[in-house]
């Protein structure tokens, strides 16, 4: 049993653990008492989803998943900025 197979096993285990952390953040997004709590939780879920996409790209050997991860990071960032600006100003202009 060399270190390469150990690394493949650890990447799969890490993807499952990051999924458990996404559910921990989703609890805060559900019960969060104020709106910025929910926005922060959704932003954190976006970052963790990006990590899961790159881990799946490594596990299955599909390299074009990394481009999808880039687009996902961009859209998560734009969504967070837009919702936070809407909460601050009451309008998106």
């Amino acid at each position: 049993m060399n270190l390469g197979s150990v690394l493949d096993y650890l990447y799969g285990l890490g993807a499952i653990l990051v999924m458990v952390m996404i559910f921990m953040s989703l609890v805060r997004a559900l019960i969060g008492p104020t709106a910025p709590d929910r926005i922060a939780a959704i932003s954190i879920i976006g970052t963790k989803t990006l990590v899961i996409i790159t881990l799946i790209a490594r596990i299955y050997g599909q390299l074009y998943f990394l481009d999808i991860a880039m687009v996902y990071a961009l859209m998560s960032f734009i969504t967070t900025i837009g919702v936070a600006k809407y909460l601050e100003k009451g309008a998106l202009d």
Partner: protein, 105 residues
């Protein structure tokens, strides 16, 4: 050399998972919006960066460049998003909680 890179990659993977877990726990347990942002933005940036670094050490040059771009993008955008969230929370009238001996406002 191969074994050394594998060991560094395993260390980065476990460190990244640890920091991501600490960030999620802080988001779940801390009492205030500003405390939660303080816990999660730093831990999430460092944890995701370490995990992507662990993947970049194992891959070829083209994939490594893409993962490096993702790390730089996360390092720029994650603190910016946390700053905008904290500013919107402050502008909409939510003040941070203070300790009992510090109520001079």
């Amino acid at each position: 050399m191969e074994i050394l890179i594998d060991i560094i990659s395993i260390i980065c993977l476990i460190g990244g998972l640890f920091f991501l877990f600490v960030g999620a726990l802080g988001l779940l347990r801390l009492p205030d919006v500003y405390n939660r942002l303080h816990a999660t933005t730093k831990c999430d940036t460092l944890g995701a960066g370490l995990l992507l670094l662990s993947l970049a050490l194992q891959s070829s040059a083209a994939v490594g460049v893409r993962l490096g771009l993702l790390i730089i993008f996360i390092l720029i955008t994650n603190p910016t998003a946390a700053h905008v969230i904290a500013r919107s929370a402050y502008k909409t009238g939510r003040r941070p909680i203070v300790s009992r001996g510090n109520t001079d406002d």
